[in-house]
Symmetry: C2
């Protein structure tokens, strides 16, 4: 049995006690953008429940064109007005450089990706970069409450980046 | 008090009973790619716990360059080998067209985005499109277990797309 099959068995249990459907727009009018890291359970960390918030995630919790797309849809069509960014300690993105990663892909596949890996050497500094990318985007209408945090994987705490 | 402040108060409670840190690589060697929809609590739906799986999310749960970046990092650097894609019923992406969305942005801001909104008219068909984008990418080494599902927001069940 694959892990996917095992997780599908979990889904049957979840569905057995499920009560839905909830409304489409997020009840708390918040969008969270976080790293994909397995230790970062966004619903747990922020005490969110089903229906509360949009959750956008990727390697690093960075802001590229695709996150601007998701945030624009979230705010313009589904009524969110606040953004919470979450990076975290002990991130995999600190362990390699963009050049190393793309060169290793070229070595293995013959093709060097045209995209950047978005690897970063300092987590707080990259939160500031992500905040700046959102604040300077013409496509994000609500920028009054855009705040960035580092989740500490040892303590479970969010620490704000100023 | 903003909603962000309210969620930070929840974080203090979470941290009070937190036990960490866990290892960086996902224990179940799985990456999940899902829509950002507020009703789709990926940890709940699949019975995941902290440390189990990478979770990548965006508007629609679609596969663009940034999701290929995240999946490549997940598989090549952090040991995941299975991918689970999740779209869902009653998705916001079914309610507009790409042209409408980008034209409305141009009307409001003067600037038409160069990116597509990735809106789609049929959810199962878009799961197939996302599967195809992963299966044809040279940057994703493990493609033997890539499966796609539609989450039913009324029942909590995952239905596989064949």
């Amino acid at each position: 049995m694959s892990v996917t099959d095992e997780l599908l068995a979990n889904n049957a249990e979840y569905a057995a006690s499920f009560t839905g459907p909830l409304p489409l727009p997020p009840a708390k009018h918040v969008a969270v953008l976080a790293c994909m890291d397995a230790r970062l359970n966004v619903y747990g960390v922020l005490g969110l429940e089903e229906g509360d918030a949009h959750v956008i995630r990727n390697a690093g919790g960075v802001v590229t064109e695709d996150e601007i797309r998701s945030l624009a849809i979230s705010q313009r069509l589904l009524g969110t007005t606040e953004i919470i960014l979450i990076h975290h300690t002990d991130c995999g993105m600190l362990t390699f450089t963009d050049d190393e990663f793309r060169t290793s892909i070229r070595r293995d596949t013959g093709v060097k990706p045209a995209w950047s890996s978005e690897a970063f050497p300092d987590v707080e500094d990259d939160v500031r970069q992500s905040l700046a990318r959102i604040r300077t985007s013409p496509f994000i209408p609500h920028r009054d409450s855009v705040r960035g945090f580092v989740f500490d994987v040892a303590t479970g705490k969010l620490n704000e980046v100023r």
